[in-house]
């Protein structure tokens, strides 16, 4: 469990005070994969560093597993940090140590016995698919392998929370996907709460169940990923959503529309069950309207299908209204638009 309550953070740079966070509150429950997305400079890196107190808040409180971090002495804080794993964009592995020794570091810091270390590291190597790389040095590994080492290292001390600071931003799309799969497995098998900072909406889409969108030190939108994706209110959120869900009509279609008249346009949104029903088929069969699908898109988020469609209907107004209310009755969100 991670909770931030009205957290402010400002830095002094060359005599100037910079406000990185201006009152941020969020809550990630045990077992959540909580994504924080924002453009660079939004304050998300500062935010994640507050959770393990790499940065201290100027005001406000940070709670980990229900306990406020500001109550701890430095040595107690070091114990708390051992329950919070962290992985980084640039991996931050020790170049001078082998994969095995890198993963063993947290255990060495805990002064564990040699045998126990060997056992735990072997187990982690297997879990992250690195068994054949134990004796390699980070220099000999690919980016994806390095991040796997980072993940294994973060898991060594059996944390209850894993913080991921732009963990996939330095990786290619395919590697990103495999790292995200690994994170999901960690979340499911060990019930570890994961917090992910990213600027890639794809990351949120693939594994997060909750999301917070940040801009200029504030959370502008947060909640269930499906809700935020399905109904992005803020312009920044909309532009992030558009990077993974294409819901704009192609220019060529807009041009042909301009030439026509006597049409009505509707924007439809299907969520979950509504997306799998043959509603459009029924619409055409049972109503005297001509239906033209201008645009359609389906996206899967959290095993739920989210569909967007733009329809053009021709016919007399009463019939079109009936058709629209039929769609509404089928659980489809429908809004009439005068332009696309």
């Amino acid at each position: 469990m991670i909770e931030l309550r009205d957290v402010h953070k400002s830095f002094e740079r060359k005599g100037q005070s910079i406000q990185a966070l201006k009152g941020v509150s969020l809550r990630a429950e045990k077992g959540d994969i909580y994504g924080v997305i924002g453009y660079s400079g939004a304050g998300k890196s500062t935010l994640i560093r507050l959770v393990n107190y790499l940065e201290r808040p100027t005001s406000g409180q940070v709670f980990v597993d229900g306990e406020p971090l500001d109550q701890y002495s430095p040595s107690e804080l070091r114990q708390v940090k051992k329950r919070i794993g962290m992985i980084f964009q640039h991996f931050n592995l020790l170049e001078s140590k082998t994969v095995f020794d890198n993963i063993a570091i947290p255990l060495v810091l805990l002064k564990k016995g040699k045998e126990e270390i060997r056992e735990r590291v072997t187990e982690l190597l297997k879990f992250t698919g690195l068994s054949d790389k134990a004796g390699s040095y980070p220099k000999e590994l690919s980016g994806g392998q390095k991040q796997r080492v980072g993940i294994a290292r973060a898991l060594a001390s059996n944390p209850s929370i894993l913080l991921c600071d732009e963990a996939t931003s330095a990786l290619d799309p395919q590697t990103t996907s495999s790292i995200l799969e690994l994170l999901k497995r960690i979340n499911e098998e060990y019930n570890i709460t994961i917090m992910i900072i990213t600027h890639e909406m794809g990351v949120i889409q693939q594994i997060c169940n909750k999301v917070a969108v940040m801009e200029q030190g504030l959370i502008i939108e947060q909640g269930n990923v499906l809700e935020v994706f399905g109904n992005p209110r803020h312009a920044t959120t909309q532009s992030f959503v558009q990077t993974v869900i294409h819901n704009s009509v192609p220019q060529s279609v807009i041009h042909t529309l301009k030439a026509e008249s006597g049409r009505r346009l509707f924007r439809l949104k299907f969520v979950g069950g509504a997306a799998s029903e043959p509603v459009i088929n029924n619409l055409i069969r049972n109503h005297e309207v001509n239906v033209n699908i201008l645009f359609a898109n389906m996206t899967e988020i959290q095993n739920t299908t989210l569909g967007t469609m733009i329809l053009q209907m021709n016919g007399d107004n009463g019939t079109i209204d009936q058709a629209a209310s039929y769609l509404l009755s089928q659980g489809v969100e429908i809004t009439e638009v005068d332009k696309v």
Binding site: K81, N92, I105, P106, L109
Partner: protein, 218 residues
């Protein structure tokens, strides 16, 4: 060729150089490495930031480093006498050599440690490492290859400084070159000593490079 020195003199001088360099390097490192570490961890933004310690240590090191060795050698004679109970001979030369090389090593060590990526230190801090653990398990292993080169540079610097040890009767190859080769126009001695010094420096540099490469594994 005519020369006035004997083989015994030459080997004696060699031994003196090795003794002076060896002792002052050992004690200089013993002082300089911890000082270099202190400089890195107490600097603004360091893992144990301490304005007071840093703002004293930093200029003190600069002051000692700005003194030419020959001046330092003479200036600290009372201190030397207090430490080794004599102000002449090889052991009397070792004391100022240590005072000369320790701040130099501290600076070089500081530079080596600053090369360690801040990300590594952030990872260490995120793991809840104590300051000692940060130094021992992260900072020093990561800088090891660079530290070897640092000590190589320090050793070569020391060989140069020992030439001036003749001023207090410290002896050594460099002293031989100055008092016989230069002041008595003994070309043979000059050539022999210079060749020996070149071999020394080359050998140490090559050894340092090999060890550093091994430590960096590339």
């Amino acid at each position: 060729m005519n020369t006035v020195i004997t083989a015994d003199q030459l080997f004696g001088a060699l031994r003196e150089t090795v003794v002076m360099v060896g002792f002052s390097l050992f004690f200089g490192a013993l002082l300089g490495i911890p000082l270099g570490i202190v400089l890195v961890i107490t600097r603004p933004g360091g893992v144990l930031e301490n304005k007071f310690v840093f703002s004293i240590l930093n200029p003190v090191i600069n002051i000692v480093r700005s003194l030419p060795f020959i001046i330092l050698l003479v200036a600290i004679i009372p201190f030397t006498r207090w430490v080794v109970h004599t102000s002449i001979g090889t052991s009397a030369a070792i004391v100022p050599l240590i005072v000369y090389i320790a701040p130099y090593i501290a600076r070089l060590v500081e530079n080596s440690l600053l090369e360690v990526s801040p990300g590594i230190l952030e990872a260490a801090e995120a793991m809840g490492a104590t300051t000692f653990q940060v130094i021992w398990h992260f900072l020093l292993p990561e800088a090891f290859g660079s530290l070897i080169l640092t000590m190589t540079t320090a050793t070569i610097g020391l060989i140069g400084a020992t030439a001036m040890a003749g001023t207090v009767g410290g002896g050594g190859i460099g002293d031989l070159a100055i008092s016989y080769g230069y002041q008595r126009f003994d070309t043979f001695v000059m050539i022999v000593t210079v060749v020996i010094l070149i071999i020394f420096v080359q050998g140490i540099q090559s050894l340092g490079n090999v060890l550093a490469r091994k430590a960096r594994r590339n």
